[in-house]
Structure formats: structure tokens, C-alpha cells
Amino acid sequence: MRLRVRFAKTGKVRFVGHRDVARIWERSLRKASLSVAYSEGFSPRPKLSFGLALSTGYESNAEYLEIELLEPADDSTWSPVDAEAMRVRIDAVLPAGFDVLAVAPADRRADSLQQAVTSCTWEILVDPAGVDEVATGVADLLERNEIVVERERKGKVVTEDIRHQVLALDVTGEAGDGVRLSADLGTQPRALRPDEMLAAMDPPLLARSVCRMNQWMSQGDDRIEPLSVDAAPAPLAEVRA
């Protein structure tokens, strides 16, 4: 069967890059003695597929991966109790800072998560600045019809309008000596990073910390999470692993 896992990555381990996270998962699943399916060939690898990459340095309460298991072969006998047991079992072998939030069977025939996810909600803490000043910057950004940014792609500088990718942006309050923002940013055809949006603001803002709170898939007019959790841990807590 295929297992979908939602996990958090918070604290110091947010500086671990995407490729290293994949390696950590491979090792951890071996520690959990799960019967993971392996690829064929010269250098067999466990069959894991990760969703959208998370920039190194960002935290997240909504990372996903899918694991191909040999046993059980299918999910016909799978129950919520099994899911919770599996969640605990995987959580126990992950390094501190990685927490498994939810586990459920996944449909092999469905689109990959990278294709299915259309937007993400981010919580952003920006460096000291007045709330009013930030709010003005936000309003200004949202009023613009286009937001043209330059970025490098395959060694060439290309320009791109990111306005349609900024689905929502709000000032949600002050925290410590910073201002907190919440943003919904599109992920298709490519995921817009919070840093890119902040750099496009006038004046540009610098994120002190960024946390992915949700990933969203479209379902009719609605949006749903690939796996929801009842009570996501509080974001941006001050003391963690």
C-alpha cells in the first residue's frame, strides 16, 4: 500500500536541505523496520516520493511524503487505529525537530502531490518595522496589477509577473520585535517563495522566519489539504529542538 505522511520541520533542523531530508527519511524508515518497497536496478533506493520542496531555512507544519510499502499489500484492512500507531512508530525514529502529524493511505492513481497542490499558506515574521508601515506595504502590493520580478533560470535572467501568485496577504499581528504576516501563495506552474514576494514589496522586507502552515489542493470551488490535522502545533514557537 501507499502511505501519505504529513510532517513538521521546525527549530534548528530547518537549516537541513531538501536532499538531506530525503536521506534522513530513508534512514529513519529503516530504523522503524517498515517493509518499504525498493526500486530495481544497480543502486536500489526506497520508493519515497516527496511533495513540494521547502527552501532551506524555512520551517513547516505541512510537509508531505508518500511511502510505498510492501506490507500490508493494500489498505482494505486499514483503520484509524492503525494510522495512529503508524504515526507514533514513524515519529519515534525521526530526529528531533521532525514530527509526524498525520498518516493515511494514499491513492496510487491520484496525481502526485507536486501536481495536485495549487497553493500554500505561509506564516512570516519580518524584521522590526512598524505594523503600520508593513500594512501600507501590503496594501500597496495587493493594489498592483502586476509585480514583475527578475530571476535566474538556467543561467539566464528572466522576468516574470508574480501578481497572480499572491492569493492573499494579511498582517496578522506583532510578535516580539517583529511583525507577523500570513500569505497564500500559488504553486503552479512554480511555487512562489515568500522571500521573493517580500523582496518585491516597497520597501522590501526581510523575513526573520518563515513557516509553511498548509498546502492546498483544489476540489471544485473548495480547497482541501492532502492530509489535515486537527490541531496543528503553534507556529514559530520560541523554543524548539
Binding site: V13, V16, K31, P44
Partner: protein, 654 residues
């Protein structure tokens, strides 16, 4: 004491590979610092990726933290981008465990395995806010200690280090902890006093306690300044590896590092007697870990870490008693999934089809063999007594089990080497390709060529190293031949070590304390990470030598005479100097010397000086190959019967 993490996390976004600086490894220890505990910061002065896997550092990390009177944390040389950030923000070097400032530790202990990292040591001291020179340090500054193989000639670092520790660290770290903890409790009064106490611990050398006399350029003597300071500092040797099953909780990093696998040391020491090999000389005698303990460490380690690869490490793993069986049963059946076993240090005369089949179960990476010299004549000079047939047998074993690539290590610039010897390397490679063609269409052999650097406490310590020009010429000889060699050399690739780097290694390998000024000069001119080809800059070194009126001719290229006082003569690895001299004469006479594990003792001094013995489970050499005896090889994988004299307990003399 407080954590610098809140400051660090704000700047980590600016550097490449920030995961180098976060710690968080599985196996990390968060120790409880207390005023009465000696606090060690174990520093590997190279990048995190290179330093993290170091087993020596991990062993001491655990042993110190198990003590009630000491704590240990770790640090690695920050890459140049991070060093820039630290200087700009005024933040010091820090531990990765609790992100504490290096200057808050009592001991900064550096593990040195290459001469080219010496400037990184200065960089780390400077970033720690510790005065570079021992003479400038006050009692509140940390003690700066070095260990590792470079500690056997610490003279070039004499200006910067308070002490060097010779040999195995497992026991001596406890003695140092006791002395330093007591010093702390008594109020850390006199720096001179603590240095004197350290100098009285066996294996600890305090350079500032010795007067050095010269006659012109020549060293005349080392004299202890005070009574109670030993005239000769002896290395430390743990008698039995079975008492030290460390690391028990090998660190599992969150980011990719070199040797990213479980490592289990199966024996320490080597008595094959390769004359160029400092490691083999200074780590004698051979102490095998019991096979049962190896198995436990492998199985428990795999379960705990989740690694799918385990390396059985030593200086020559195929020599381990009953290696095939150990490899075959190393991994218990209930360890999940596929596991591959790697044997990083393989002698060709003990590598068999059986071993080849066992180690490639999960994944097949490249295999490396080290014939070291191209001709049998030269291999006799260096006492690497492997026959051509041994090499072809080993390579055949590998190719027959599915490998398509083999890597062969060679040294060039060896004593008595003539062009015929150098070019013979290509003959070996060509013949290996031929062996490979029996199994595959396109086998490949990569020749990896290093310039020979003479090392202290080896029979070649008197040999004048080849000049940079000569090393380059020899490399060029092979390169040109390979270019014009035509079809028969298809599949042979050549890689070589920078001859200029070999020369600088040679400078410090046998240098004396006058070279401290050169290290400092290079560091002040921005020379760090010199072991990285992208940063190595020969002009920094030649300019520094010129400014200090010192020359490569004197330090590197000159043959030493029998009566010359060497900069490490007041240190001892147990080896008798006359044994080494005789072995040097034998080398020049092309006379080989057998492995004393399985033949009578020839009294090199390593056992007799310290009352220790070999601990070897098998009374005969491992199966396969000629075992350097020059006897016929009965094909691969078939045990060769050798005529062995009655076994004399090692250390009993002969």
C-alpha cells in the same frame, strides 16, 4: 555560559550549507557544564563534512562525557563564508552541540591528520578569541592541545600549542581531565603550573618546557627546562581494543558527510611494515577486536542508526583474522533491508572472491587497491610485498563479482625509484584491464597517483623528498605515455595529487619549530583550507619561506644523515631508532621484512618498549594470495598453505 544560537540562527541563512553548524545529530550529547568539570571542545580543523565522521574524535567525545569530572562538545572549521560572517558580526567560533563560545571551554583539543590544516588551527584560535601564541595566553585562556598522527612531530606548531598528545587517546583524556578539573577547582591560578602538571602525564608533550639548541641550521638538542619533565615523551597505547567498544553511539549527521555510514574499527595497528607508511609504524602493535564484539557493534549500530552500509575499518581490513566469516555474519538477519559492507583498506594479497561476493550484496561502489609501486623491485624497497599475481587475483575477484571499475593507488617519488619503476605502473593497469575484459566489455582502472612525503618515525624519515619539479616530471611521464599509449591502455585513467601540495606537506611533516613563523605568515595572508585544491596557494607558502629566510631545500629535499638530531628525537612511538635505520638500509638493499604478526619478533620496539603484545585471533595469515612471501598463488579464494615458523609470542624478543 549561554548559547549563541539566537544570534547564529539570524545569520545562518547567509551561508552555504548551514546544516554544518546546527549539530542535532543522532548521538549528539548535551552535556551539563559545571564549574568543577573540565570542559573540552574537540575541534576538527576541516569542514564539518570531513570532520564529523572522524572516529577518533567521536571516541573521545563519548569517553569524556561519560566522566563525572568532564564534558566535551565539538566544533569544526567554519567554511570561509561562515568565518566572514563571524568576523563581521563579532561572533566567536562555537560548539555545534550547545552553540557555546569556544573561549568558554577549558581545553581546545584539535585532531590533526594532515599538515595542510595547520593554518586552519590558527584560524580557529583567532575566531575563538584565543591568543595565537602560547606565550601570550593568560590563565583564563583555554589550553590548546593537539592529537592525531601529526602530533608525532608537533614542532612546527610549538609556538601555538600548549601540549601535544601522542598515541591512543582513550586513557590519556581521563588523566588530562583530572588534572584540568583540579586546576579549575583550585581557581586556575598559574598557567605554568598546569602546563608542568600536563607534561608529567605519560604521552603528553609540552613544547614550551623544552630548550632547543641549534648549531647554525642544525638542531643540536632538546633539553627539559625543569626537573620532572621527561627527556623523551613516550606515546600512549591501549593494550586491548576489546575494553574500548567506542563509539557506542556513532553520530549520525543530518547532512551528507564523507564516509556517511556506520564505521566499526576492527583492529588498530599494522605490522605489514610498509616503509612509507607512518600510520603502520606509529600504531603498533596489532590489536584486533574480538569477532563477537565486531558483530555486536555492527548489528546494534545498524539498528540504531538506520544506515545501510557499514565499513569495517583498520589499516588493512582483509588481514583481520577470519575476515570472510566476519563479513559473512557481520550483519544479523533481523537487521532490516539491504546492508552493504565496505572494507576501505584492502591489501590485494588477502582479497578473495569470497570477500568480494560478501561485500557487494546491497550496492556496488568502486573498489580500491593499493599496490603503491609499479615494479616488484620497488615494492621490495618499500616493503609492500604484494606480487603482481596478487593484484590480478584481487582485481579478477572483483571483476568476476560484477565490479567494472577498480582504483589503484600508487606513490611516486619513492626512494630509489627510476623511470622504469614509474612506467611499470601502466603495465599493471594494462594487465588489470586485460583481467577485467574476461568478465566485462569495458572495464576501467583508475590510477590514483600521490607524491611520496617522508614521515617521522618511518624508515624513510632520512630520505630527501623528490622536488616539485621531479614529481611533476614523473606524473608527466605517465600522462604522456597514457596519451600516446594507444588502444592497449583504453579504460585506464590517471588522477594525481598536486605535487606542490606534497611539497608543503613535506615541509611540515619533518619540520622544526622555526616553521611556526611560516604557518603564521601564510594564515595572516589569508591561507586557510590549504588542503582544498580550490584554496591551496603555493605562492603564499614560498613567499612566507622567503620572508623568513627558510628553504625547501633544507627542510624537504635534503637527505638526513645518520647522526643528525631530528626534530622528533625527544618523542617516541616505541620504535628503536636503530631498528628504523636498519630498515632504511634494508630498503636500499631491496630486502623485504616479514609481518611479525605471524613470524618471529624482530624487536622494532613497539611491543617491548611498553610491555604490550599483538592481539590476533589467527595464528596464520588470512586465506588467499601470496601474503608477501613470494610463494605461488593457487588461484583466488583458495587458502594458500604457508610454512610458518613456531609462533613466538609477540614482544618476547627473538
Amino acid at each position: 555560559m549561554s548559547s549563541l544560537w539566537p544570534e547564529l540562527e539570524r545569520v545562518l541563512g547567509e551561508v552555504q550549507k548551514p546544516a554544518r553548524y546546527i549539530g542535532c545529530e543522532d548521538g549528539m550529547i548535551i552535556p551539563e557544564h559545571r564549574p568543577e568539570k573540565a570542559a573540552w571542545l574537540l575541534i576538527y580543523p576541516d569542514t564539518y563534512e570531513v570532520g564529523l565522521p572522524n572516529q577518533g574524535l567521536q571516541i573521545l567525545y563519548e569517553i569524556i562525557n561519560e566522566r563525572p569530572d568532564a564534558v566535551a562538545e565539538r566544533s569544526y572549521a567554519p567554511w570561509t563564508d561562515m568565518a566572514g560572517v563571524l568576523r563581521r558580526t563579532g561572533l566567536p567560533l562555537f560548539s555545534v552541540d550547545t552553540h557555546r563560545a569556544a573561549g568558554e571551554f577549558d581545553i581546545l583539543a584539535f585532531n590533526l591528520s594532515s599538515e595542510l590544516v595547520y593554518t586552519n588551527l590558527l584560524e580557529c584560535l583567532d575566531l575563538s578569541g584565543v591568543p595565537l601564541h602560547t606565550t601570550e595566553r593568560r590563565s583564563e585562556d583555554p589550553l590548546v592541545i593537539i592529537g592525531g598522527h601529526c602530533a608525532y612531530n608537533p614542532e612546527p606548531l610549538a609556538d601555538f600549542i600548549d601540549a601535544a598528545v601522542l598515541g591512543d587517546g582513550e586513557e590519556v583524556v581521563s588523566e588530562i581531565s583530572e588534572v584540568v578539573a583540579a586546576w579549575k577547582v583550585s581557581g586556575r591560578t598559574s598557567r605554568d603550573g598546569i602546563l608542568r602538571e600536563l607534561a608529567r602525564i605519560e604521552g603528553v608533550y609540552v613544547p614550551s618546557m623544552y630548550e632547543v639548541d641549534y648549531d647554525g641550521d642544525r638542531l643540536v638538542s632538546f633539553t627539559p627546562r625543569l626537573s620532572g619533565i621527561p627527556e623523551v615523551v613516550e606515546k600512549r597505547t591501549v593494550a586491548d581494543l576489546a575494553s574500548w567498544p567506542y563509539p557506542k553511539n556513532q553520530l549520525v549527521p543530518l547532512t551528507e558527510v564523507v564516509h556517511d555510514r556506520l564505521n566499526v574499527e576492527v583492529f588498530r595497528g599494522c605490522t605489514r611494515g610498509c616503509r612509507f607508511c607512518q600510520a603502520g609504524m606509529i600504531t603498533r602493535p596489532v590489536r584486533e577486536r574480538p569477532a563477537g564484539q565486531v558483530r555486536t557493534m555492527v548489528t546494534d549500530g545498524l539498528r540504531r542508526t538506520g544506515y545501510d552500509e557499514v565499513a569495517l575499518t583498520s589499516l588493512s581490513t582483509a588481514d583481520f583474522s577470519g575476515i570472510e566469516q566476519v563479513v559473512a555474519t557481520a550483519v544479523a538477519d533481523d537487521v532490516c533491508g539491504r546492508v552493504s559492507v565496505s572494507l576501505p583498506s584492502l591489501r590485494v594479497d588477502a582479497f578473495t572472491v569470497g570477500i568480494a561476493a560478501e561485500i557487494q550484496k546491497a550496492r556496488r561502489t568502486g573498489l580500491t587497491f593499493a599496490p603503491e609501486a609499479g615494479s616488484w623491485r620497488l615494492r621490495q624497497v618499500i616493503n609492500k610485498l604484494v606480487k603482481e599475481e596478487d593484484l590480478y587475483g584481487a582485481v579478477g575477484s572483483a571483476f568476476s563479482q560484477g565490479w567494472r571499475r577498480a582504483k589503484l593507488y600508487f606513490l611516486t617519488g619513492l626512494p630509489t625509484e627510476i623511470d622504469e619503476d614509474t612506467l611499470a605502473i601502466l603495465d599493471l593497469a594494462r594487465n588489470c584491464i586485460d583481467v577485467g575484459r574476461e568478465y566485462h566489455r569495458n572495464p576501467s582502472v583508475t590510477i590514483s597517483l600521490g607524491g611520496f612525503v617522508p614521515k617521522p618515525f618511518t624508515p624513510f624519515q632520512w630520505f630527501g623528498q623528490n622536488t616539485e619539479t621531479e614529481l611533476r616530471r614523473k606524473i608527466g611521464l605517465l600522462r604522456d605515455e597514457l596519451r600516446s599509449g594507444g588502444k592497449t591502455l583504453n579504460g585506464v585513467k590517471l588522477k594525481w595529487h598536486d605535487a606542490r601540495a606534497s611539497v608543503i606537506e613535506g615541509l611540515f611533516s619533518r619540520g622544526d619549530r622555526r616553521l611556526g613563523a611560516v604557518i603564521e605568515d601564510v594564515w595572516r595572508n589569508g591561507g586557510v583550507f590549504q588542503e582544498w585544491s580550490e584554496h591551496f596557494d603555493i605562492t603564499l607558502w614560498s613567499d612566507a619561506l622567503a620572508r623568513n629566510d627558510l628553504s625547501l631545500d633544507w627542510y624537504v629535499y635534503r637527505h638526513r644523515t645518520h647522526d643528525e638530531v631530528l626534530p622528533w628525537d625527544h618523542l617516541s612511538a616505541g620504535l628503536h631508532k636503530d631498528f628504523l635505520w636498519q630498515d632504511w638500509r634494508d630498503a636500499l638493499d631491496e630486502v623485504g621484512l616479514e609481518d611479525c604478526r605471524w613470524t618471529p619478533c624482530y624487536d622494532c620496539g613497539a611491543c617491548t618498549s611498553y610491555g604490550v603484545e599483538h592481539i590476533v585471533a589467527s595464528a596464520v595469515p588470512p586465506a588467499g594470495g601470496s601474503q608477501g612471501t613470494g610463494q605461488a598463488v593457487n588461484g583466488t579464494g583458495v587458502p594458500v598453505s604457508l610454512t610458518i615458523g613456531p609462533r613466538v609470542p609477540a614482544g618476547a624478543g627473538s
